[in-house]
């Protein structure tokens, strides 16, 4: 009896062999990684508190005092622009008793004042003052310079603002590495730069965050089947992937699957002006990006920046999969446009994304259903023992004269998903950044 009560706890998640749970050499994945609470807690430590995580777009911080609240993993953070013009990211939890400091999702302010006892923090997270401060005059441990909100490192790449809580993390440029070549397809096809359309759409899905991320990093395969009804309604025909001229590419877990069809995704918006814009500007894109990349600007494609920032060329939606537990995410959806696009075109993107890739959207409503049930089925203990197959396109690796990273033939491929999970396993196994392998162009 006593034995039963003192049954040995499961081994701590840190001692699991993640390169066995995720067997990328043979293309099998253990379902526990989508279900287990211990593994999830370690993800918060070793993925989200360690990687560069997307927190916003520079256009959301036009004036000093502009702020947004968001999450890095499950850590609530504030991102705010100070009077010097720097964007700061710090914990949204008071250093006094831990109360949430800011409850608005966006706005403009001079300071963040805690509701509980009135401690006030500046736009850089520093403690400015406290209520009845004279009472603290004899308090030896009360040092305002040490009681600010814990800050993250901030990095910006062509408008995208990222933050990390890991002092040892490589620089953002190094973290993105050669993947910047692919990011530039949307971030740098126009001299005016980019901006987010105001606001976003927020929704909750009962799925593990990795099912969403792997879907965007490389699951072109699902599109023709899952989204058959949307394709039939919008295109009046099936969508076929070009086998000759389509690819997957990945760099350190970031990945994109893409064709070179210029307008394949954009057609899905059902906004003819967007397609016209892409066709008319192809030569202009080519001046900045070169001929090949200019063909990607609105092409059939999906992408995910490790760990949880995804986007679609053509639709121009950017989104984050923020974990809310092992079996839940919050999805935030934005629309990115070039600053100098005519207003009418920005409107077309804004309304087109709502109609396609938002919770009301014709494409997205089918995705959520799949991801939720891929997750929920793992409640079954026997179910959880059955490994999942990720073996498509094992021998598809190729060298390409222009495309950087690990490049694979044909969009219909599990290569990017395997690369995503290998990066995940590398990070889950590593005690620090120094132990994380370089996967910037590794085979398979």
């Amino acid at each position: 009896m006593a034995d039963i009560l003192q049954a040995k706890p499961a081994p701590p998640a840190a001692t699991l062999d993640y390169h066995r749970l995720v067997d990328v050499e043979n293309g099998w994945i253990d379902r526990r990684i989508f279900w287990d609470e211990g593994i999830y807690q370690l993800e918060l430590e070793r993925i989200f508190a360690r990687c560069w995580v997307f927190v916003g777009h520079e256009s959301q911080f036009a004036a000093p005092g502009d702020f947004v609240t968001t999450y890095i993993g499950q850590d609530a953070v504030i991102a705010a622009k100070d009077r010097q013009g720097a964007i700061n990211v710090f914990l949204n939890s008071c250093s006094h008793r831990g109360n949430r400091v800011c409850f608005a999702e966006a706005g403009n302010t001079r300071r963040f004042t805690c509701n509980f006892h009135g401690w006030a923090f500046g736009l850089d997270g520093g403690l400015l003052g406290v209520h009845e401060e004279e009472q603290y005059s004899a308090c030896a441990t009360f040092d305002k310079s040490k009681l600010g909100l814990h800050r993250a490192r901030v990095g910006i790449y062509k408008g995208l603002v990222f933050a990390t809580f890991d002092a040892e993390a490589p620089s953002l440029d190094e973290y993105l590495g050669d993947y910047r070549y692919y990011l530039d397809v949307l971030l740098d096809n126009d001299a005016s730069g980019t901006e987010f359309i105001e606001g976003n759409v927020k929704s909750r899905l009962g799925c593990n965050w990795k099912f969403a991320a792997e879907n965007f990093v490389g699951d072109a395969y699902h599109a023709g089947w899952t989204h058959a009804s949307a394709a039939a309604a919008i295109f009046k025909k099936d969508v076929k992937v070009n086998i000759e001229r389509s690819y997957q590419a990945n760099v350190n877990g970031h990945g994109t699957e893409f064709g070179l069809d210029l307008i394949g995704n954009a057609m899905g918006l059902a906004e003819p002006e967007v397609v016209e814009y892409l066709k008319e500007n192809e030569a202009r894109f080519a001046e900045r990006l070169g001929k090949l990349r200019s063909r990607m600007v609105g092409a059939m494609s999906s992408s995910n920046v490790f760990p949880n920032l995804a986007y679609l060329t053509g639709f121009n939606t950017w989104r984050t999969w923020t974990p809310k537990g092992p079996h839940e995410i919050e999805l935030h959806t934005w629309v990115l446009v070039n600053k100098d696009m005519p207003e009418r075109l920005k409107e077309a993107y804004r309304r087109g994304v709502s109609r396609t890739f938002s919770p009301t959207g014709m494409f997205e409503s089918d995705d959520g259903e799949n991801w939720e049930h891929c997750t929920r089925s793992n409640a079954g203990v026997v179910t959880r023992r059955q490994k999942l197959h990720y073996g498509l396109g094992m021998d598809s690796r190729m060298e390409h004269e222009e495309f950087p990273g690990a490049v694979h033939r044909v969009q219909l491929n599990d290569a990017n998903q395997r690369a995503f999970y290998r990066r995940w396993a590398d990070l889950m196994s590593a005690a620090s950044w120094a132990d994380v392998s370089d996967r910037s162009g590794a085979t398979r």
Partner: protein, 182 residues
């Protein structure tokens, strides 16, 4: 200004008759049933050609903030013309709309109906509250409530919907999708 006010009714001397209030009520109830029964083509018959549906995504902002909870420039759940709504609904008719088969079970509950004069002579500004209950598969359940502002027009063919705004209260939609109209 009250926190949720988006548009104040224009005070005009007209008053809705009991008969009109009754007819408006019946229109909204019939409409709710058509949505429950997923009879979208019949639902679209209740709209004027210039009908627009706007369902903004609310933002949680401080009262002192210059911007409101609902703003037209922002991303919206719906900001569609009638033909765009028809395009959305056309997907549900495809046999390949997997996430609609087996179908979602819907209840649209409409209440708090008020009929006020609108600016145009043949139009009425109708306030109501709508609550959508959806159940699907074994145990999935989603509630979504919103305050509606409709423009209802008197036409030769009877009362028609000429425009609708729905101010939902969830800023984070607590569901994987929003596969109905409100």
């Amino acid at each position: 200004m009250s926190v949720n006010a988006v548009e104040q009714a224009v005070a005009a001397p007209r008053r809705a008759s009991l008969q009109l209030v009754h007819d408006v009520q019946q229109l909204l109830y019939r409409e709710a049933r058509l949505l429950d029964e997923q009879r979208y083509d019949d639902w679209f018959e209740l709209m004027e050609d210039d009908f627009r549906l706007w369902i903004p995504v609310p933002q949680s902002r401080y009262r002192r903030d210059g911007q409101g909870i609902y703003e037209p420039r922002r991303m919206a759940h719906f900001d569609d013309s009638l033909s765009e709504l028809k395009l959305r609904a056309s997907r549900w008719k495809e046999t390949t709309a997997w996430s609609e088969d087996p179908p979602t079970r819907h209840v649209h509950y409409v209440t708090n109906i008020e009929v006020e004069p609108a600016e145009a002579a043949a139009e009425w500004l109708v306030h109501s509250v709508v609550i959508s209950l959806r159940n699907r598969n074994e145990d999935e359940e989603n509630w979504l409530g919103g305050r509606r502002e409709d423009v209802i027009r008197e036409t030769a063919a009877g009362l028609k919907l000429a425009g609708r705004k729905v101010f939902v209260t969830q800023s984070v939609l607590m569901a994987k999708n929003f596969n109905t109209f409100l």
